[in-house]
């Protein structure tokens, strides 16, 4: 079962769409569930599908299509670093190397203490701030330097 809070949040998204088009809220629903759970399991995806009255496989298609969804356990803090051209030109590679060395993990891995996971990301649409990264999809950090990265990570408990 989805929790009361989750359902409330999904319900408020549902207000955006016609009553017979509940499927429109699937991206939002999965995002809400993922934000609460850290990642999506098959069961959670099915719950979202059932709640919106859509086929499970259709929800699965959505969950596997949009790459901000995590289908495997992620760290408490998922760090996504953009390595696309504008960031690459401004030495995003150094940031990636720094993070990999510091956390001792590669992309798509989770630290042993499950605190961090690392993802390579495509363009986030904020290239004036290159190089940049997001934490748990929703918090963006721009103009990164190795020192700034250290500082950001330190502030995370």
């Amino acid at each position: 079962m989805l929790t009361e809070t989750t359902r409330k949040k999904i319900d408020s998204e549902l207000k955006k769409f016609p009553i017979d088009q509940k499927q429109s809220a699937i991206i939002a629903a999965l995002q809400i569930i993922q934000t609460e759970n850290g990642f999506l399991t098959d069961d959670l995806i099915a719950l979202a599908a059932d709640y919106l009255g859509m086929p499970k496989i259709a929800a699965m298609e959505v969950a596997t299509f949009y790459n901000m969804f995590e289908l495997k356990p992620a760290g408490k803090y998922k760090i996504s670093v953009c390595t696309n051209i504008s960031c690459a030109l401004r030495e995003a590679d150094d940031i990636v190397c720094h993070l990999q060395k510091k956390l001792n993990i590669n992309f798509n891995e989770v630290t042993k203490d499950s605190k961090f996971s690392l993802k390579e990301s495509e363009c986030m649409g904020a290239c004036s701030g290159a190089p940049l990264m997001t934490i748990n999809n929703h918090k963006m950090h721009e103009h990164l330097t190795p020192q700034k990265v250290d500082q950001i990570l330190e502030e995370l408990d």
Binding site: D42, A46, K56, I57, A58, M60, T64, F65
Partner: protein, 765 residues
């Protein structure tokens, strides 16, 4: 009409048709993988790209509609180069090991590659590997071969009735998948095997058992429901290796149900008998045909047939016209009128027991009401036409007891106990009367109408029927399995008459209509009556007495009371204990014969394989039997001759025995709801192994609300008792079941022994 030019040829074509449709019509071959005439257009494979004058880019023939003056080149260098490049892309990640692929020899990709492919690959990078998924016992996956055309996905969503497969992931990593290795459940799932243009989805039961070029292709008619699907049996070494649909747009289109496709596995089941059997001290002993006939002759000759109705004859509604006719003729010669084919019926009116219109006219109505059918299981493929109609016209209503209509757009969906059907129909009739000047003379009906008060649902259904130009009311054959089936039918017919609607009853079995037309059921005689009067002998043909007749208790008692019982059957099982002799008959694939389907279409067929062992086609068995009994007029040389004589019977008018409305008694307590699953419908499909590999544990289904009322919990064991038997069984909560009912699976497991009595008691175990 508009004028276009295709490969230099000027054509007049209908506007809004696609280039590929035009090309197909005039026999111009355009290669394609994703396009299928019965599915939505995806335009994703890009194989059908063609050059069109004044367009810089090639356009997909499947998705591009013809326009006035359009000039299309399907053979130009530009078109060929484009198609070749698409072919190259399709092959870079596709394994090039056709010799070990089950699709080899009948693969669209292979064929097209021969025509459009290069002999050498330029792709030297790593190839994609996709892990296979288990999607059930019927379909084998080899997803590395998949070219992502999504035909299977679209089929299940658009025709199968439920989106069970999807293309998950994206880009190069996109792959076909069910939700977490879930089995595909559609009753039509096997069609995706035919649709798959590569070897990604192949038949699991057929896998690696033969190469396509080793198979002889023989046409026949499916015997599992009254649709009469046209099928093609593929035979190697006299064994049916697989079955595929044979296209017939006005019957099965290009599809068949899974039971039509995979039932062949039951043909050579270990229960098949190859020689006549004689019962000696509770054991079966094989004897030769001569001895068997002599034994039968001796026993029948002992009966004093001057006294009428000494012999009871019951056959299955799957019997061919020829078999039915010969049985009828034998009955006459043996001075018995006690002959019938209706095994599940409790209501015996004979008129209008057919669809009432052509199969392909169903969807031409503007409003449809269906009463008492579990369409998906009763008529798996026909159900697709209703679903398509409902989802397109959005004017479909259903009154039934099990909600299997989640993917069907229902204007009104009334899920009630079968005993409540009559009430809803009376409400509708009353509402109709308010709006029309329709007069009813029957005092009984008038009285019944006085008592009912139309509900809002009934009003809405009526309103929609009345406001539509052409309407239809269809009853499921389950209606006739009810005690008040004739009442229901009568009222439904009144409604249909009042609003000038098509009236139809969707018959149950392959030859229900044919045997009805043949008058194999006489007025006032029913199987029940035959079995309840003591007989000297019984002849029963092509059904399992325990599973196919609604009262196992009654039939076994009847057999016990008779001196001699003859079964003619392809199979032997414990159910046949009450017989003295069993003659091995062939199933439909090994005989010629004729079925008349739900729309009264007469379809004759030939055997696709020779008889198994020494079994014989039913019509031959009966002919020789008659000869042994020295009955006259049985000198037939072929089934065609039998058919010709049988057809004469059709001219004799079918008598209308639907006369009187008898008010039903008000019921209380739990009712049994008999759900006959598609794959449990007859002796053959019940023996088709793959159709039953995903067998659920036997259980009964009860609505959670009813469970609460009865103090039951999910998974609990209960004892159900009917007038027939008592069984111990698990309860499963299922909100699709109507209230106050216990849904059991007729024709299956021990639940079959409960029979189809309406009342039932439950006790917690």
């Amino acid at each position: 009409m508009i004028k276009i030019k295709i490969d230099g040829k000027t054509l007049e074509v209908k506007p809004k048709t696609s280039i590929i449709e035009v090309a197909d019509k005039v026999g111009i071959d355009i290669p394609r993988f994703c396009y299928h005439k019965k599915l939505s257009v995806a335009a994703n494979c890009r194989m059908c790209l063609v050059e069109i004058k004044n367009f810089a880019k090639p356009l997909p023939a499947c998705a591009t509609q013809v326009m006035e003056g359009m000039e299309i080149s399907t053979k130009s260098k530009f078109t060929k180069d484009t198609q070749k490049s698409v072919m190259e892309f399709l092959l870079i990640n596709h394994p090039l090991d056709c010799p070990i692929c089950d699709q080899g020899g009948e693969c669209d990709l292979q064929d097209t590659a021969v025509a459009y492919g290069a002999s050498k690959t330029r792709y030297t990078e790593e190839k994609r590997v996709v892990f296979d998924k288990n999607i059930g016992p019927l379909i084998s996956t080899d997803l590395t071969r998949c070219i992502q055309c999504t035909r299977c996905v679209r089929f299940l969503k658009e025709v199968g009735g439920m989106a069970e497969l999807g293309l998950i992931g994206r880009g190069e990593h996109a792959e076909i998948s069910a939700y977490v290795d879930k089995s595909v459940e559609s009753e039509l799932s096997g069609n995706i095997i035919d649709l798959c243009p590569v070897g990604a989805l192949t038949s699991k039961p057929f896998r690696y058992s033969a190469r396509s070029w080793e198979l002889s292709r023989r046409s026949t008619i499916s015997s599992h429901d009254s649709l009469g699907s046209n099928i093609e049996a593929h035979v190697k070494d006299d064994i049916v290796k697989r079955v595929i649909p044979k296209e017939n747009e006005s019957i099965n289109e290009c599809w068949i149900s899974d039971r039509d496709r995979f039932s062949y596995e039951g043909l050579n089941h270990k229960d098949r008998i190859t020689l006549p059997l004689k019962r000696v001290k509770n054991q079966w002993k094989e004897i030769d045909w001569e001895e068997a006939y002599e034994l039968i002759e001796k026993n029948i000759k002992n009966i004093d047939i001057k006294k009428s109705d000494q012999i009871g004859i019951v056959c299955s509604p799957q019997s061919t016209l020829e078999e039915g006719f010969l049985l009828k003729k034998i009955a006459k010669e043996l001075n018995t009128s006690h002959i019938d084919y209706r095994l599940l019926e409790k209501s015996f009116s004979k008129n209008n027991n057919w669809l009432g219109c052509k199969i392909d006219e169903i969807e031409s109505h503007d409003a449809i009401l269906v009463v008492g059918s579990n369409l998906k299981h009763d008529q798996p493929l026909l159900a697709h036409r209703f679903r398509r109609y409902a989802n397109k016209k959005k004017n479909f209503s259903i009154i039934t007891s099990y909600d299997d209509f989640h993917s069907t757009h229902c204007l009104e969906k009334i899920i009630v106990n079968p005993s409540a059907y009559i009430n809803y129909l009376l409400m509708i009739l009353k509402q109709v009367q308010l709006n029309t000047k329709y007069k009813i003379n029957s005092q009984e009906i008038k009285n019944a109408l006085k008592i009912v008060k139309p509900s809002n649902e009934a009003k809405k259904i009526t309103q929609n029927l009345l406001s539509s130009k052409s309407r239809a009311i269809f009853l499921g054959h389950q209606i006739l399995h009810l005690d008040d089936g004739d009442n229901i039918k009568l009222i439904a017919m009144h409604i249909a008459q009042a609003i000038e609607a098509t009236f139809g009853l969707i018959p149950g079995y392959a030859n229900s209509v044919g045997l009805n037309e043949l008058n194999l059921n006489s007025d006032n005689i029913s199987t029940d009556k035959i079995l309840s009067q003591k007989k000297e002998a019984h002849i029963m043909m092509n059904f399992d007495p325990s599973y196919d007749y609604h009262s196992p208790k009654k039939i076994n008692a009847a057999l016990k009371n008779a001196k001699f019982n003859l079964a003619i059957s392809p199979y032997i099982s414990d159910s046949f204990k009450g017989f003295d002799v069993v003659l091995p008959m062939t199933p439909f694939t090994e005989t010629s014969g004729t079925y008349i389907n739900m729309e009264k279409r007469i379809q004759s067929f030939s055997a696709v394989t020779p008889p198994f062992g020494q079994s014989r086609p039913g019509w031959k068995i009966l002919r020789v039997l008659a000869n042994f009994l020295q009955l006259e007029g049985f000198l037939y040389d072929s089934s065609e001759e039998v058919k010709a004589d049988a057809m004469i019977e059709f001219d004799k008018k079918n008598e209308d025995n639907l006369k009187v409305f008898k008010p039903s008694k008000i019921r209380s307590g739990l009712e049994i709801l008999n759900l006959i699953k598609a794959n449990d419908s007859d002796m053959i499909v019940r023996r088709a192994a793959s159709l039953h590999k995903n067998k659920d544990q036997s259980c009964c289904l009860i609505n959670p609300t009813t469970m609460l009322k009865e103090g039951l919990i999910d998974g609990q064991k209960i004892r159900i008792s009917s007038s027939e038997a008592e069984v111990l069984i698990n309860v499963k909560a299922d909100e699709n079941v109507c209230l106050d009912a216990v849904a059991i699976f007729g024709k299956k497991d021990e639940t079959a022994f409960l029979g189809m009595d309406n009342k039932v008691k439950i006790k917690k175990a």
